[in-house]
């Protein structure tokens, strides 16, 4: 084998080894997805939209993600970062209770990501606060005995 080819092969194997731990976690983004905007709630001062989106994705097992984004009024969510991501959500709703306070209500959810604030511009001082509002003060995902029904095993 030519010396140059051996070096190229070594470099490719090195790169493959370096990336191998991360490929399985990123592969989900290569799977086909179907996205649908569910709700768009305009803030009281009409400057912002909170919008919820469902995304169906997965290679072997299909999962239905529910995500919430905060964007400028009328803007698409395409490049925004979600403030809330959940699976198995039921009866979700978005309500602005003040110009800078968004409540995410639901009866049931398995929350995979939530942040309680979002800065409105990289260098600005204005932010939005986000609050979870489950319908029950007790369990919102587990059953009353603290377990998971077989049909909803995560």
């Amino acid at each position: 084998m030519p010396h140059g080819m051996r070096r190229l092969l070594f470099a490719l194997c090195f790169l493959a080894g370096l990336l191998s731990p991360y490929v399985p976690t990123r592969a989900v983004y290569l799977a086909p997805v179907a996205t649908r905007e569910v709700q768009r709630a305009v803030s009281p001062d009409k400057r912002l939209d909170a919008l919820s989106v469902t995304t169906r994705s997965g290679i072997l097992t299909l999962r239905l993600w529910y995500e919430v984004y905060i964007v400028e009024h009328g803007a698409p969510f395409a490049h925004a970062v979600p403030v809330f991501s959940a699976l198995k959500i039921e009866n979700a709703d978005l309500v602005w209770t003040a110009p800078r306070l968004l409540k995410i209500s639901y009866t049931r959810a398995r929350i995979e990501h939530f942040t309680n604030y979002r800065k409105l511009s990289p260098r600005g001082n204005e932010s939005v606060e986000i609050r979870l509002a489950p319908s029950s003060a007790a369990f919102s995902f587990l059953n009353s005995s603290g377990g998971i029904d077989d049909a909803t095993e995560p």
Partner: protein, 140 residues
């Protein structure tokens, strides 16, 4: 193979730095005595400013990854209240939450069939932006 070793080494170093830089400030055991809720704060704030909440089998130290909650600007540790076994409430008046996950289970407890649900109970409307605005921002 060499790349895989370097990546594994990087993750190990990262975990070691996180573990070294966190100090346990609060530990509350579940009513059935199986699980501890552990709140940690950073030792050196210039390395990381993140506080975190972990759930661990009783008596175990806080790990370096997989917190239920990661946040900043907690003026005091939140109150960790076990409403009953399997249900933990986090009551807090100040704090910006960077990431929160509401379900926990571990293969080390009842072969992974023991679950804990975590709920957030802010005691004010604006526990984060009531103070100064933190760094992450909306991207368009």
């Amino acid at each position: 193979m060499l790349g895989l070793l370097i990546a594994a080494g990087f993750e190990t170093v990262r975990d070691s730095v996180v573990a070294w830089n966190q100090r346990e400030v609060l530990r509350v055991t579940s009513p059935d005595g199986q699980i501890d809720a552990v709140f940690v704060e950073p030792v050196v704030h210039s390395v990381s400013q993140d506080s975190a909440l972990y759930l661990v089998p009783k008596g175990e130290p806080a790990p370096a990854r997989g917190p239920q909650l990661r946040g900043v600007d907690f003026k005091e540790p939140p109150a960790l209240v076990w409403k009953r076994s399997h249900l933990l409430a986090i009551n807090y008046s100040h704090g910006c939450i960077i990431n929160f996950v509401n379900l926990w289970h571990s293969n080390d407890v009842e072969d992974g069939r023991y679950y804990v649900e975590v709920t957030l109970n802010p005691t004010v409307d604006f526990p984060c932006i009531g103070g100064r605005a933190p760094s992450p921002s909306v991207t368009h």
